[in-house]
């Protein structure tokens, strides 16, 4: 029995990635990281900034996502995101720029808990990327 399912990552501009032979996807869902295997129950959730890991026969790919929505249905995982970068090709200067921008955001006073949480998440992830 095959353990593979389909993964589609789409940007507003284009289809970012489409893979048929994915065995597991680890997504940074809003309420904690979530591993998705074949025959997962249909689910809709959204993402917080984090690392998205895709496992397939050909190996493991890592992506950095800032936000997005995921939908799993009929063994197809769709990820809709406006900002996703492959971790191998990510631009160092973009990371540091985005890190300093986000830190500035955090220093603002009028943040609600939710956005404060998202922003600090983003900072943590960006820091871990730049330290690698």
């Amino acid at each position: 029995m095959s353990e593979e399912f389909k993964l589609e990552i789409v940007n507003p501009e284009k289809s970012f990635l489409s893979k048929e032979d994915v065995t597991e996807v680890l997504v940074p869902a809003y309420e904690g990281d979530m591993g998705i295997l074949k025959d997962h129950i249909s689910i809709i959730s959204f993402l917080k900034p984090g690392i998205l890991k895709v496992f397939s026969k050909s190996g493991e790919d890592k992506y950095y996502v800032e936000d997005g929505i995921i939908e799993f249905k009929d063994n197809t995982l769709s990820i809709l995101t406006s900002s996703i970068f492959s971790l191998d090709k990510i631009d160092r200067s973009y990371v540091s720029q985005s890190l300093s921008d986000t830190e500035k955001l955090l220093s603002k006073e009028d943040l609600d808990d939710q956005s404060r949480f998202l922003i600090s998440q983003k900072i943590d992830v960006l820091k871990s990327i730049s330290s690698n």
Binding site: P12, E13, S15, M34, S42, I44, S45, E71, S78
Partner: protein
């Protein structure tokens, strides 16, 4: 009758106009191809988004407490119209068609005694609307600097809309743009984005049982603003494809017309040159005869 010199100058000037329109047509054709590709590439995202929203809104049991972006404010007094046009002219009826559609809607709204607010995106729309509706225009946005249509621009527009919605500045929001059908046909569209019309979210057959994490309304609250950006982005993509298509056919027509004009002027030029020669000959002959 124009002199030979004048005719010559006119032929030259029409020819150089023709060169320009021909070049513009080529450029528009190349850009059209890209714009069309972009519009096609962007489709999966907006379709998926629509499906998810549909599923979510079906899953919401408590319609009363649904997010306002979905359900509306309950009022129907202030209408916000977002008119998407191009930044450049010379594209046939492209901008005028949108404006015409928008103006028909405006007059319908005002005749029903409702308030009207306008946001123009693209400088041409502002130019055409400012005379008649200057006091209604609350904001004008132009993306002249950005070369390509990108999602950030769409997000900027939707941010403005959502912020003003949260301040209760309007009840209904409609966007106007041209839908690209083919090179010669673009259909001006009016699409209501706030509150979301259930008929535009698709068919009800796509209903599925989903797990939601976090709760439906929380996801929906997060998703609806994104959907607005997506819808605007889609409209911008369609618009840019339409603009290039419209420009291409307009420039094609202009090139053809210029060709016809050159032919006509050339005939006129040749005739009057011949007439001048004949006249001169007659003068010489009659001069010789009189001797």
């Amino acid at each position: 009758m124009a002199s030979l010199d004048d005719l010559k100058k006119r032929i030259l000037s029409v020819k150089s106009t023709q060169k320009i329109t021909k070049a513009m047509k080529m450029v528009a054709a190349a850009k059209l191809k890209r714009a069309q590709e972009n519009a096609e590439k962007g489709r999966p995202y907006s379709e998926k988004m629509n499906n998810i929203i549909l599923n979510l809104s079906n899953g919401i049991s408590d319609k009363e407490n649904a997010p306002k972006l979905l359900a509306g404010t309950g009022n129907d007094k202030v209408h916000l119209c977002v008119v998407l046009t191009s930044d450049r002219g010379l594209c046939g009826g492209f901008n005028s068609n949108i404006i015409k559609k928008a103006k028909a809607y405006f007059s319908k709204i005002t005749s029903e005694g409702k308030n009207l607010k306008i946001i123009t995106v693209g400088s041409k729309g502002y130019d055409q609307l400012k005379r008649q509706y200057n006091d209604k225009i609350v904001n004008k946005i132009s993306f002249k600097e950005s070369k390509n249509i990108n999602f950030f621009d769409a997000e900027k527009v939707s941010k403005i809309i959502i912020e003003s919605f949260q301040k209760n500045e309007f009840d209904v929001c409609t966007i106007f743009y041209n839908k690209f059908k083919n090179v010669i046909t673009q259909i001006p569209q009016a699409q209501q984005i706030i509150p979301l019309k259930s008929s535009e979210t698709g068919n009800d057959n796509a209903k599925d049982n989903y797990e939601f994490e976090p709760e439906e309304d929380e996801i929906l609250g997060n998703l609806l603003p994104k959907n607005i950006s997506t819808q605007i982005f889609k409209a911008m993509l369609e618009n840019s494809a339409s603009e290039q298509g419209s420009r291409m056919s307009a420039m094609d027509n202009a090139t053809r017309n210029a060709g016809e004009m050159v032919d006509k002027l050339t005939i006129q030029y040749n005739r009057s040159r011949q007439a001048a020669i004949t006249k001169e000959l007659i003068e010489i002959i009659s001069g010789a005869e009189s001797l």
